[in-house]
């Protein structure tokens, strides 16, 4: 009978590894709790209209509750308020301009940007003796809320805590690893004194990491990435990358469904949960908790 | 007034008949890059006359027409309409004056209906909405009135080229036209359609429309025209009243030499059969049995749509046969593709140079060599030298008027394009040559040359199938003449064994 309960989860972009981990967590929760969990999502984090349509369709299906990660703060506000009139809405990962959420499980992306800044400063200090020098930022796509927040947190933290670190380039790519790679190689060429880079998502970290490996610059340029997969973990092990900011997408998915089920039954749930952002370096990657984050169980 | 200006080239403009010439050119000139297409020409068209223009391929006839209709800009010179200078920079301007033309290549819209084409640019509408039905009715009335047996509501693309040409003529005739130009209108018409066209022209003449008529067919010129102007190499070499000249005179003026005999024919004793069809059927024709022997010209005559082109293209492997047999050198063969036909030794010069014959935006040289690359480059790699040599040989041999082999085929005059269509097969070493309307738009001089080439091919033991809708041509050249009607072979005749009238009767089928 519990299988009749449907709780769809809507992510920002089904074509990215990060969101696949979220979905994996949700899938597991569905199995554990006996809930039917349709896995929905747009095909790009920039496709706001697509996500609105998916939300509309999901609500039309008459689910018990909906778990959603809004792609854009303002744009999803009204549709979510609208949807909340008929079902309970649980937000994960990012916020939206609506107070109709029953519960929220988020990583603070601004905080993630700050963690990245800290990690970069530390790595530069370890190499050069002081948190000083030129740094750069590579963003995967323009107009994506979470990426903008990471950039914001990163820049704020630099300004507030590390006046010695000068942001010399703030590049926006087109979502392609190759573009990230090309931007990184050109940054290396154009800025011989570059000491650090923050590549603020998985794909950019892969591209930038490859550029550093190609040019064997790992001792000169410290790279901080965001999120992880085995490619980046290998880079980390090999010392190509100085650190990764890692969230807990699996838990977000799992707890999202769990909370939604509870809420749909009328149980009271916590309004805000911070699932945290951690800096992973070569030094701490062996820790049990971190290792679990780096190798989420996907099936 | 402009009438007092003396004129060197026109031979005494007839005065008094209708006063001021309706259209007058003074020093009109057109240069293309590398070609002086029309050298300064001065000429006056009298109101109400039928003025023929003749000249070799590439002499500049179409160029002159395009200048008069605002299709291309002129390099220099002046044009006067009823004594007033006019710009004629756009087709619109020409149409507003009442100047219309039926251009050499049919230029209408295949995707629109006949009625839509006839009204294109002059649609009738009420409150901004098109009067579809009224226009179809009106177009149909016009067609019926002209005696053209054509429907107005079908898509133009569904008609044959000849029928499209008639529509183009009907359309030009009904637009408040005062000055109407026909650029080789009969090239794609059968005799019957040509007769319809002539009736239309006569009627327009009676209504006082001035007509300019371009043709390579001398008898048409003599049948219709009141005066005739001759162009040679872009120069206007003279104007004659029709009563004061004859065919030989015009030809001499056109090509600067005389031709004693256009239809050149040598008789060879036919050898072994090359190709035989037995009860062959396919799309558009049924149960056709013919034999082509070495040294023989087999002519196929018929009205438009009689199925001759379909028959030969099926033999050539373009369409699938549905019944019957093809024998090659006495052995039954199945020809599945054009490449297989060529491999056997068949060459086909198709009827429509624009749609089937030429790659217009490619160089002349490539067009000439296209069927022989398998021979020029057996390994796949091309020898640039051989390629060039062969192209140049063809250009020289056929006297194709072009700046060089690298020139694009589209910039050649219509007749010269036709020479490429034929020429690309001549040195191909085929045994059987199929020429479908080979002399469409070709000038008399070249025609004579082409017929001489036929003889040469025959002397080497080849056989020829000649399709022509121009009866004198097949009549004079064919050793055996087959008449087609509605997809069937209705009669066969030996050389000069039947009269013109006999053959026509068979083709029309009383």
């Amino acid at each position: 009978a519990a299988q009749d309960v449907t709780i769809p989860i809507i992510v920002k972009d089904t074509t990215s590894f990060y969101w696949q981990i979220v979905l994996a967590g949700a899938r597991k929760a569905g199995k554990d709790l006996g809930v039917n969990v349709p896995e929905l999502g747009a095909q790009s984090e920039a496709d706001i209209n697509g996500q609105i349509s998916i939300l509309e369709n999901a609500v039309a299906g008459g689910p018990a509750a909906v778990v959603i990660s809004p792609t854009e703060f303002k744009a999803l506000g009204q549709p979510i308020t609208e949807a909340a009139k008929s079902v309970k809405i649980i937000g994960i990962d990012s916020a939206a301009d609506s107070d109709a959420f029953t519960s929220f499980l988020t990583t603070d992306n601004v905080q993630g940007g700050r963690v990245a800044a800290d990690g970069l400063a530390e790595a530069i200090k370890a190499q050069y003796g002081a948190a000083e020098g030129e740094v750069a930022l590579i963003t995967s796509l323009p107009g994506v809320g979470s990426l903008d927040q990471r950039a914001q947190g990163f820049k704020e933290q630099l300004a507030a805590k590390y006046p010695g670190l000068k942001l010399v380039a703030d590049k926006v790519a087109d979502g392609q690893a190759t573009t990230g790679l090309n931007i990184m190689t050109d940054l290396i060429t154009a800025n011989p004194n570059l000491r650090g880079v923050f590549a603020s998502n998985l794909i950019m970290a892969q591209g930038a990491g490859q550029a550093i490996a190609e040019n064997t610059m790992q001792d000169k340029i410290k790279l901080i990435g965001f999120d992880s997969d085995d490619k980046l973990v290998k880079f980390l092990t090999d010392g190509v990358i100085a650190g990764l900011v890692v969230q807990d997408p699996y838990r977000m998915g799992y707890d999202g469904i769990k909370t939604a089920l509870a809420a749909s039954k009328g149980e009271s749930v916590e309004k805000f949960v911070d699932t945290g952002a951690n800096l992973v370096t070569k030094a701490n990657m062996g820790d049990e908790k971190i290792a679990a984050l780096l190798n989420p169980k996907l099936d | 007034m402009t009438a007092s200006i003396p004129d060197a080239t026109t031979l005494g403009r007839p005065r008094g008949t209708s006063g001021v010439p309706i259209l007058e050119l003074r020093g009109l000139e057109k240069r293309y890059v590398g070609t002086h297409a029309l050298k300064p020409a001065t000429l006056a068209f009298e109101a109400g006359e039928i003025h023929a223009i003749v000249g070799e391929n590439g002499a500049g006839k179409s160029t002159l027409i395009k200048l008069l209709t605002g299709v291309i800009p002129r390099t220099s010179g002046e044009i006067f309409w009823e004594g007033r200078p006019v710009g004629l920079a756009t087709p619109h301007e020409a149409i507003d004056l009442g100047i219309n033309a039926v251009h050499q290549e049919v230029v209408l819209c295949r995707h629109l209906t006949v009625a839509a084409n006839m009204f294109l640019g002059e649609e009738t509408s009420r409150f901004g909405l098109l009067q579809h039905r009224a226009m179809v009715r009106e177009a149909q009335r016009t067609l019926d009135d002209l005696g053209f047996d054509l429907p107005a509501h079908v898509l133009l693309g569904d008609l044959t080229i000849g029928q499209q040409q008639l529509i183009a003529a009907a359309r030009a005739a009904t637009r408040g036209t005062r000055f109407l130009i026909f650029d080789e209108p009969t090239a794609y018409l059968t005799r019957r359609e040509a007769a319809q066209l002539f009736a239309l022209i006569r009627r327009l003449e009676a209504e006082g429309v001035t007509i300019v008529y371009i043709s390579h067919r001398m008898e048409e010129v003599f049948e219709l025209a009141t005066r005739v102007s001759i162009l040679r190499d872009g120069t206007l070499v003279g104007t004659r009243r029709i009563g004061e000249t004859d065919e030989a005179d015009l030809i001499a003026l056109m090509i600067n030499r005389s031709i004693e005999q256009i239809y050149h024919k040598d008789k060879y004793t036919p050898g072994k059969p090359i190709l035989e069809t037995r009860g062959l059927s396919g799309p558009g024709f049924e149960d056709v049995s013919i034999t082509v022997r070495e040294g023989e010209i087999v002519g196929l005559y018929g009205l438009i749509g009689a199925g001759r082109s379909e028959f030969v293209t099926t033999v050539f492997g373009r369409h699938k046969r549905t019944a019957g047999e093809v024998l090659w050198d006495g052995r039954p063969v199945t020809i599945r593709s054009e490449a297989e036909a060529i491999e056997l030794g068949i060459a086909l010069a198709p009827e429509s140079r624009r749609d089937q014959g030429l790659c217009l935006n490619l160089p002349v040289g490539l067009n000439l060599n296209l069927p022989v690359y398998t021979k020029l480059a057996p390994t796949g790699l091309i020898s640039a030298r051989q390629e060039a040599e062969r192209a140049d040989r063809q250009i020289a041999g056929l006297r194709i008027k072009t700046p060089g082999r690298a020139t694009l085929a589209s910039s050649l005059s219509g007749g010269n394009q036709q020479k490429i269509v034929i020429g690309k097969w001549l040195n191909h070493g085929a045994k059987l040559f199929i020429f479908d309307e080979p002399t469409v738009g070709v000038d008399v001089g070249t025609k004579a040359e082409i017929y001489r080439l036929f003889s040469e091919l025959l002397s080497k033991g080849a056989g020829i199938i000649l399709i022509s809708s121009y009866l004198p041509e097949v009549y004079e050249l064919a050793d055996t003449l087959h008449v087609f009607r509605r997809g069937r072979l209705v009669s066969s005749h030996g050389y000069h064994a039947a009269t013109h009238e006999d053959i026509l009767t068979r083709a029309i089928g009383v």
């Binding site: 929905l40 920039a46 369709n57 | 087709p91 149409i95 995707h111 629109l112 839509a116 294109l120 898509l155």
Partner: protein, 322 residues
């Protein structure tokens, strides 16, 4: 494009267009019936409203695109125009302009872009593919520059409420489709300019020789396409409540696909208004159905690709037989 695929052109078609329209409509109904059986939620009023809303924007783009394709051209910029004008209108509203003024000014931007395309094609002799590709690239850049890569929020609730409103039980977005389609239909089939669009696509030289002002017709087609795209930009801005230059990525291909599924020929001179409408709603139905059936979104892509091939193939077959 290649002539090989082109044989269908020469054969009689006559009234077949209408018939074909009907067949596509039958296909759409068939999809709906199947989905009605396969899911409980398809035939709910809510879902039908959703479906109508979801297909609306592509439908309007596809109609504009069809005008361009009929002339034998293509407009790759429509997606970028949508994103760009969503930014423009948000900006105007942020400045406090009244809605009508913001709307009119934004549409004027659309017209200007269309004029630019016409200019590039007619005066500069650029291939439509290239000039609209260039506009695509540049417009996204300009939009990003204006917003500095961020989004502009629209605080004017009256403006955003519009996209969710219903009128006579039908979503206002779908009314907008009707508002565009009806004049478009009259223009294409019952006015001389429509006739000239076909004539230019069929044989521009013949049209010119008949006294048709070919450049003006080309301008018209591209202006309409860009105007419709900017109109969609308005609708999108109202729907998502923000202006963002990177929105509507790839919508140009969706619009072209809708148009072609609806029977428009990329060689020009063949097309209708109802065709692209049906095409757009078929695509929307595929997506909607896949969501309702909980089909993996990766499978959705595969299915869409396959369906495009199947539908266009049967269209070709039918025409060839016709």
């Amino acid at each position: 494009m290649t002539d090989v695929t082109n044989k269908a052109r020469g054969l009689p078609k006559g009234r077949l267009n209408i018939l074909f329209g009907l067949t596509l409509f039958a296909l759409l109904l068939l999809l709906w019936v199947i989905l009605g059986f396969a899911t409980n939620s398809f035939w709910t009023g809510n879902n039908i409203s959703n479906l109508l809303r979801q297909g609306s924007m592509t439908a309007i783009l596809a109609i504009g695109q069809t005008f361009v394709i009929i002339t034998g051209g293509i407009d790759l910029s429509v997606g970028a125009i949508v994103g760009f004008t969503s930014v423009i209108v948000s900006l105007f509203l942020q400045w406090g302009l009244p809605i009508w003024a913001a709307v009119v000014l934004t549409l004027l931007f659309g017209v200007a872009i269309g004029l630019f395309h016409g200019f590039g094609i007619v005066r500069m002799g650029l291939p439509p593919f290239i000039i609209t590709l260039a506009t695509l690239t540049s417009l996204r850049g300009i939009g990003l520059l204006i917003t500095n890569g961020a989004t502009i929020s629209i605080t004017n609730d009256e403006f955003t409420a519009f996209s969710r409103a219903n009128f006579l039980g039908v979503p206002s977005l779908f009314w907008m489709v009707i508002m565009v389609a009806v004049p478009a239909y009259i223009l294409l089939n019952h006015s001389r300019w429509g006739r000239y669009l076909f004539a230019v696509g069929s044989n521009a030289e013949a049209a010119r020789l008949s006294g048709v002002n070919v450049p003006r017709i080309i301008y018209m087609a591209y202006v309409l396409s860009a105007l419709f795209a900017s109109f969609v930009g308005l609708l999108l801005a109202a729907r998502i409540g923000i202006g963002n230059a990177t929105q509507a990525e790839g919508w140009e291909l969706q619009a072209i696909a809708s148009s072609v599924i609806g029977g428009t020929s990329l060689f020009g001179a063949i097309g209708s208004v109802h065709g692209p409408l049906l095409g757009a709603f078929i695509l929307a139905t595929i997506n909607n159905g896949a969501n309702l059936l909980n089909v993996n979104s990766f499978w959705q892509r595969i299915v869409t690709g396959v369906l495009i091939i199947v539908i266009v193939y049967f269209d070709q077959l039918r025409r060839r037989r016709g």
